[in-house]
């Protein structure tokens, strides 16, 4: 059915805050959520009493080691005595939380909503990756003892095969993002590395090598959404959420074309339609695609219709996605450079757009006064795309 575009209530991002992303934080999950929430409130001069509802994002409970983890985090996220909702779509949760918040405000029920994403992966022993065993089908896949890296390696290999790509073509993403992160005060893995460093790093699950992969992290991010009237009262520089979109593909991931993220395209088309965007390549000035692995950024740029199929690596090599390029991609440093506390990492991308579009990104600032940006996350069994388009 067509979207009833007319009359949608306008929603803006008016504040944002985040903690550092670190391998292991001393703070508890609740404390991380509190710090990010507090910073977001302070950034726009609001008090918790001004917040009508709280939306929370956190990926599997298995990381934090708490069943009903949303309830556990509710106190730290400022939800005491408030309407509180935790929604999730795996790795796509960070951007989805903003989508969820958008519906809260757009419904007309709330004027200001706090969106908080937190992940404390270090609680999970012996290694956070072990928690991923339980994302696989309990009957047909888990008995094979699959590693999370398998599915990415399988997808990456298929992508490389389909378009005849080399590891070198893809490694440039890791180089770019880790370099961009040098300018991010929260970054966990900022570094000046070379393509050769990536190609010489430890092979984990060929074609995936150590430096192709984002780290496991602890961290939290929060943003504040407001209705049009409230936003104008709160700040001179609201950043409008122009549209949202998301899509979930079949769980039968071995029955799909792994070389192209069709679900990301569907999510993007939903968002483009809602925002009235006809030519994304021209109308999007800055993009934060989800980059837990280097090839994923390229995959997603193609799915978002910001690069022709199989050609994102060429555009990357030409410098199009550099911070001062034609279409800056992941100027924050992304998951590869800043870190990957899963849901928080997705929300970090929205926060980055907020700062970039307000011209407050400091050394990371993209030149040329970008007016429209797109943040995207992805997750589950290579299955979900979540998209938010922001603009000033």
């Amino acid at each position: 059915m067509a979207f009833r575009r007319t009359g949608l209530r306008r929603v803006a991002v008016v504040g944002a805050g985040m903690t550092k992303f670190v391998r292991r934080a001393q703070e508890t999950a609740q404390e991380l959520a509190f710090h990010a929430s507090r910073l977001a409130l302070d950034s726009c001069g609001l008090r918790i009493q001004d917040i009508g509802a709280v939306c929370l994002g956190t990926a599997p409970d298995a990381f934090d080691g708490v069943h009903m983890n949303g309830e556990y985090l509710s106190d730290g996220a400022g939800a005491y005595g408030k309407p509180f909702m935790r929604a999730y779509v795996g790795g796509g949760t960070g951007v989805f939380s903003v989508i969820q918040g958008w519906y809260h405000v757009a419904s007309g029920l709330f004027d200001a909503v706090l969106v908080v994403c937190e992940e404390k992966m270090s609680s999970c022993l012996p290694h956070p990756q072990a928690a991923f065993l339980t994302i696989f089908d309990h009957t047909t896949e888990r008995p094979l003892k699959p590693n999370l890296l398998w599915i990415f390696a399988l997808e990456m290999n298929r992508y490389m095969q389909k378009y005849g790509l080399s590891k070198k073509d893809i490694a440039r993403v890791a180089v770019k993002n880790k370099r961009n992160a040098m300018d991010h005060p929260a970054a966990q893995l900022a570094a000046e590395i070379t393509v050769e460093d990536v190609l010489n790093s430890e092979v984990l699950a060929w074609p995936v090598q150590r430096l192709d992969v984002s780290p496991t992290s602890d961290g939290a991010v929060a943003v504040i959404l407001a209705s049009e009237d409230a936003a104008k009262r709160i700040t001179d520089k609201p950043v409008w959420i122009k549209s949202v979109g998301w899509c979930l593909d079949s769980a039968y991931w071995t029955n799909r074309d792994l070389s192209y993220p069709e679900y990301v395209e569907r999510a993007a088309r939903m968002a483009y339609e809602m925002a009235g965007i006809k030519e994304p390549r021209k109308e999007i000035h800055i993009v934060e695609p989800y980059d837990p692995f280097d090839y994923k950024e390229l995959h997603h740029l193609e799915g978002l219709l910001l690069a022709p199929k199989g050609e994102a690596p060429r555009l990357l090599a030409e410098g199009v996605f550099d911070r001062d390029g034609d279409l800056p991609a992941t100027p924050s440093g992304g998951l590869l450079g800043v870190g990957n506390p899963i849901a928080a990492a997705g929300l970090m991308k929205v926060a980055e757009l907020f700062w970039q579009l307000r011209g407050e990104a400091g050394k990371r600032q993209v030149p040329g006064n970008p007016r429209t940006g797109l943040a995207q996350a992805w997750g589950d069994l290579m299955q979900v795309g979540t998209v938010a388009i922001l603009g000033v």
């Binding site: 599997p60 409970d61 069943h67 909702m85 795996g90 997750g379 589950d380």
Partner: protein
């Protein structure tokens, strides 16, 4: 809210102690097919979005939302999961319609409680890992603490709590899908095994498997689809304190806040007079009484008297849990709230067969998320 959105389709599967014949996907498929048939929609063509409710540790699968699209007709569509009660999920769906961005939204919740072999250990895993878990207490002890304080402060009695069990289990005998209907006596309840005093075994709702699916629609779509839309007039949800150290043990503040929000939207000023019947959380017997007071269906300390007088019986002035509630139908984990909404819809449609109430216009459904939470959600529905 004035008739902005409605429930236009319901489907369910269950509710019984075990369901070995169907996988969770097949259970969901069965309920979804029925809901779409009831609403007269094809989910592949007509549904704009889908919401499911699930907790990873109840499913035994991390990021369980992966496994929901196929059996709901939601492949390649906007679908997400809420970790909340089914009413939280229903509200998440309703927000999408209220925003004006969607016309038809599907909401699903299910329970395969029988597949969880270590349910009480899983529940304990929801406790604060630093302050509470190391004490090694059975989570039912939290209910014992709360029941004790609630009874002490409100002067309601354990006998009155037991009467709730007798009522709801008997009500379930008139519900062909209820898993735990029985004709038990007050003495049976009061003589049942102590679990966490004053809580006894029969004060606790047993678990059931099942699935409930709803189709929600905007006002225009609803009028096109059905002559009998059930309007969502108000919805509210709220969290009390997760921390056991700071909790309000006597009163369900989350329920009061959720209800006030829903009543305000619905324009309900005197709940006792304006709500014709209610399906409210009775995961434990005392919870029905505690929630009645928090939901302002009676004053503080009056819930016990109401059950003594039979006011909450199916023939009384304010029937509560005519379906049998969780005590009679079974605790359906995240789907519990949806079962309560289902009963309200069936009653308002006049489809509740042997347990049909007469002349009901407006009903209330209220869900609590269960141990160890202080989180709840309320829905006011009208014909």
């Amino acid at each position: 809210m004035q008739k902005q959105m409605a429930i236009v389709g319901v489907g369910y599967s269950g509710f019984s102690s075990i369901s070995p014949g169907l996988s969770y996907k097949e259970l969901m498929y069965e309920a979804a097919v029925r809901a779409y048939q009831d609403a007269g929609i094809d989910p592949r063509q007509d549904a704009d979005g889908f919401v499911t409710v699930a907790e990873d540790f109840h499913e035994g699968t991390s990021i369980f939302d992966e496994y929901v699209p196929d059996q709901l007709g939601a492949v390649m569509r906007p679908v997400h999961t809420v970790t909340g009660d089914g009413i939280h999920g229903l509200i998440a769906g309703a927000l999408k319609i209220l925003s004006g961005a969607m016309n038809i939204v599907v909401v699903e919740g299910h329970s395969k409680a029988s597949n969880i072999l270590t349910l009480s250990q899983v529940t304990a895993y929801a406790l604060d890992p630093i302050y509470n878990r190391p004490l090694g207490l059975n989570p039912y002890s939290i209910a014992g603490l709360e029941m004790q304080r609630f009874l002490h402060q409100t002067k309601n009695t354990v006998e009155q709590c037991a009467r709730v069990v007798v009522k709801n289990r008997r009500n379930a005998l008139n519900h062909p899908s209820a898993g735990h209907g029985s004709d038990i006596s007050l003495e049976d309840v009061l003589a049942s095994e102590r679990v966490a005093s004053p809580l006894r075994k029969l004060d606790i709702a047993p678990h059931s498997d099942g699935c409930v699916v709803f189709v929600l629609a905007s006002a225009d779509a609803a009028r096109d689809l059905t002559p009998q839309p059930i309007w969502i007039r108000g919805m509210g949800w709220s969290n009390g304190s997760y921390s056991l150290e700071q909790r309000n043990w006597a009163h369900a503040d989350y329920a009061r806040q959720a209800a006030q929000m829903a009543y305000h939207q619905a324009g309900v000023e005197k709940p006792h007079d304006e709500i014709d019947f209610a399906e409210i959380d009775d995961t434990f017997s005392y919870k029905e009484l505690q929630h009645m007071e928090a939901l302002e269906l009676c004053g503080e300390g009056e819930a016990g008297r109401m059950i003594d007088e039979g006011a909450t019986q199916p023939g009384g002035s304010l029937p509560i849990n005519v379906s049998g509630g969780s005590l009679g139908v079974g605790n359906l984990l995240e789907a519990s709230g949806l079962q309560r909404v289902l009963e309200v819809v069936l009653q308002l449609r006049g489809q509740a067969s042997a347990r049909q109430l007469k002349n009901v216009e407006t009903g209330l459904a209220f869900a609590w998320r269960g141990l160890p939470t202080a989180s709840g959600a309320a829905l006011v529905l009208s014909r």
